[in-house]
């Protein structure tokens, strides 16, 4: 698979047997599944599909996949995809994260890593080109993100300097790691990079923790692999730069302008656990972030012309010492407005804390808001909350609760399971149905883009039919070949690139894909064959689910109850999702994507896509309806 943007090798590390091998994939598999999310679906299905329901996402049988795509490192803005059987949805989530790690990995000669088994004690994997080692990590176990990076940078650089005496100064290696949240297997734990970057949705930090794997560290000294048409690629590279460098608003504020605007303008921002979606808190304007906390205006990952990130620091006051990025819109919303917090300082404080412990800002912000609403309603008391008075807007109180979650102490042990599982447990404990306050889809917190106002990019079925649940970067949409549809997004997550370098001029991406791989795809061709195949595998895995829970489309292809309550405030007050409309759109979506009236992929569609084994496995689900 040389000359198509691939190194042609995937590294396989079995942490139980400590066996390290390399595998090569056939061109036909790569042509169909590309890399990242698509390839993850294929590998997971091939290896675990026949016993999918029995596989414990947090058991040694699960796989942790870390996969680049052919465009990684070439198309501006490098990302890598983390996957496995998700401890949140029990399905497959393609969770991507930016940084230099993916480029280091490819330069070391690998397109990805398959990690199986589980280590007996904490380890990290170190890759220096062809040399791969499993190393003791007991000294970094328990450390937060900042400490982990500091220690590993020091350790690896001094080792390389000693080993290669005349080389000169070594740059830092690429590091993917987990924080204490992942070590303690919170289902909201993420795989982190560069302090603040997270492969968020899916809960793969917990999978990594369950394998006793603290970090993967890589230094690659080779070039990126050859591409199909280098001249064309270099021409397009310049074109892509030009387009994204002109996107001034996105560059200056990143998604950080959303904390105010998505609430005030779009009425689709979670406020106090989605009890509202509108606010006019000018204290939360992006101008405030810019003036009060941003010390670096443009921050980006390898090869990115957009550099939408910013570095934020609180230097004085009660939250002094908090350092994180922007925060981006999702964390402004989930660790800000959703908790009734409306100042940059408090928002940076909570975001930095969440990053340091390695939890997902979205899933954790969702469960914190959920708990606060239960406190507001008197369902959870101060006693239930280990003495915490969980009032809206009290950043210190939320920080205390985060600590309980990370340490799995008291109520924290329940909340660490994420909103859906916590709601099941608390309903049982209290004898009250609290699922109606859980704003999630298929075990995954809904991203900070509501559907009630109709002023955002979302539609009434965005989360209802998504194969990645509440993931706001992978939503169901008609037509399925439209740029906002998750079928098309599956391409971006497979190639693997950043969606923010796609929207300016999508066609450039598809041309670039052809220049690197030599393979022609359009959104239309993709949505009828290769992309659709990935979605069917993800859907099948989601429906099979298990072992602790399996989704029933009749019940769970649905919005959270909250979305049917009318918005109480703002210009869209009174608006809500409409059940009839949702049902109608759902039906239409099922048809377009090839699912039967029960939401199960149709045999004829699967057979046409060459997914005979998926079809057979789904007979188990079909039987549930007979």
């Amino acid at each position: 698979m040389k000359d198509r943007g691939y190194t042609g090798k995937i590294l396989e590390v079995n942490l139980s047997t400590e066996k390290i091998t390399e595998i090569t994939l056939e061109e036909e598999i790569l042509r169909k599944y590309i890399g990242g999310r698509g390839l993850a679906a294929k590998i997971l299905w091939d290896r675990l599909g026949s016993r999918w329901e029995e596989i414990d996402p947090l058991g040694p049988e699960n796989l942790l996949l870390i996969l680049t795509g052919p465009l990684t490192g070439f198309y501006p803005g490098a990302r890598i995809c983390v996957s496995g059987k998700s401890p949140q949805s029990n399905g497959i989530v393609g969770s991507t994260v930016g940084g230099e790690f993916p480029v280091e990995l490819k330069c070391a000669g690998y397109d990805g890593i398959i990690i199986s088994g589980a280590a007996k004690s904490p380890v990290y994997i170190f890759i220096k080109d062809n040399d791969v080692e499993i190393r003791d990590a007991s000294h970094i176990w328990g450390k937060d993100g900042k400490e982990t990076i500091k220690m590993l940078n020091k350790e690896i650089r001094s080792e390389l300097e000693k080993k290669y005496r005349n080389f000169g100064k070594w740059k830092e290696p690429g590091i993917l790691y987990i924080g204490p949240g992942g070590e303690n297997k919170s289902r909201m734990a993420v795989v982190m990079c560069k302090w603040t970057h997270a492969a968020g949705y899916g809960g793969y930090g917990a999978v990594m923790g369950s394998k006793n794997l603290k970090a993967v560290v890589v230094k690659g000294t080779g070039p990126l692999p050859e591409v199909y048409n280098p001249m064309r690629m270099r021409f397009l590279l310049d074109e892509v730069y030009r387009v994204y460098i002109e996107r001034d608003g996105m560059r200056r504020w990143g998604t950080g302008s959303g904390g105010y605007a998505v609430g005030y303008i779009s009425s689709s921002e979670p406020v106090r656990n989605w009890q509202e979606e509108w606010h006019d808190e000018k204290s939360f304007g992006v101008d405030k972030f810019e003036r009060k906390v941003w010390v670096k205006r443009y921050w980006g990952d390898y090869g990115c012309p957009t550099t939408c990130l910013k570095i934020a620091v609180v230097k004085t006051g009660p939250y002094a010492g908090a350092i994180t990025d922007n925060p981006d819109y999702e964390l402004q919303a989930y660790l800000g407005t959703n908790l009734g917090i409306f100042t940059p300082e408090e928002n940076v404080y909570i975001s930095a804390l969440i990053d340091d412990v390695g939890l997902c800002g979205i899933n954790a912000g969702n469960v914190l808001g959920f708990a606060a609403e239960l406190y507001q309603r008197g369902i959870l008391t101060k006693e239930d909350l280990n003495g915490i008075e969980l009032k809206w807007g009290d950043a210190k109180a939320f920080a205390k609760l985060i600590e309980l979650i990370v340490k799995r102490k008291g109520i924290g042990d329940i909340l660490a399971e994420g909103t859906f599982r916590a709601a099941l447990k608390i309903s049982e404990m209290k004898g009250v149905d609290v699922m109606k306050y859980a704003v999630q889809a298929k075990g995954i917190a809904i991203g900070a883009h509501g559907i009630r106002s109709r002023l955002d990019y979302t539609t009434p079925i965005s989360y209802v039919c998504s194969v990645q649940g509440g993931d706001h970067t992978s939503v169901a949409r008609i037509p399925i070949e439209s740029h906002g549809s998750e079928v098309v997004r599956a391409m971006l997550d497979s190639a693997v690139i950043c969606i923010f370098n796609y929207f300016g001029k999508p066609k450039l991406f598809w041309d670039f894909f052809e220049a690197v791989t030599g393979w022609h795809e359009t959104p239309e061709s993709w949505a009828t064959e290769n992309g659709l195949r990935i979605i069917q595998i993800q859907r099948a895995a989601l429906l099979l689910g298990g072992p602790d829970f399996s989704w029933d489309p009749k019940i769970h292809d649905e919005n959270p109850p909250r979305f049917y309550e009318p918005l109480p405030t703002g210009p869209c007050a009174g608006q809500a999702a409409d059940r009839e409309e949702v049902e109608k759109m759902k039906k239409e979506y099922y048809e377009k994507v090839g699912w039967d009236e029960n939401g199960i992929p149709k045999s004829e569609v699967l057979l046409k896509l060459g997914l005979k084994d998926v079809d057979e496995a789904l007979n188990k689900v079909r039987r549930r309806y007979k």
Partner: protein, 177 residues
């Protein structure tokens, strides 16, 4: 060194560096014909996230690296003032690295010869792309206007990181080092 007239220097503002590494891509494409981070003559160090350091030759007025080379593999281009590496002569002994006050040169990943910025013969590609992207972390100034300060910029990544971390993160930066 006579004849500085008309020579350029790459001015650098570390705080403005976004860490996008487009300069590394441009450099390795220009010199190696491919994207190759470790073969780039300009390297972005990120020893602490958010603290990105463009590390490249400063063309010191006394060129200690050239003096230190035991095999005359290094020379100064009279027109540009850049240090030129003779790949054939270089034995990869590393003495130029030791002589550099910023330990800026590094070995090509092949291990065969040293890499030092050659100013792209007077048209540095790293500056071009940084300017195109409006980051302004790198830009061109006439060498004559900065002569006395150039060598001050030859510092190790560790030293620059330490100072910049405190600058950007205040006293909280100390724990990160």
């Amino acid at each position: 060194m006579a004849g500085r007239d008309g020579q350029i220097w790459i001015m650098r503002d570390f705080i403005k560096c976004s860490g996008c590494r487009l300069c590394e891509i441009a450099c390795s494409l220009a010199h190696e014909g491919k994207i190759w981070p470790e073969a780039s003559r300009i390297r972005i160090f990120m020893l602490v996230p958010g603290i990105e350091i463009p590390h490249l030759c400063t063309q010191c007025e006394d060129y200690p690296c050239v003096d230190a080379c035991p095999v005359n593999a290094l020379s100064v281009n009279k027109t540009t003032g850049a240090v030129i590496v003779d790949k054939e002569k270089c034995t990869a002994c590393g003495l130029c690295i030791q002589a550099c006050p910023g330990k800026i040169p590094h070995l090509h990943p092949s291990g065969k010869y040293i890499l030092i910025c050659d100013l792209c013969d007077g048209d540095p590609q790293c500056v071009k792309v940084c300017q195109m992207g409006k980051w302004n972390a790198l830009w061109i100034v006439p060498r004559s206007t900065v002569e006395k300060q150039c060598k001050l910029y030859a510092r190790t990544p560790e030293e620059i990181t330490k100072e910049l971390t405190i600058n950007l993160y205040g006293k909280f930066g100390e724990e990160l080092l």
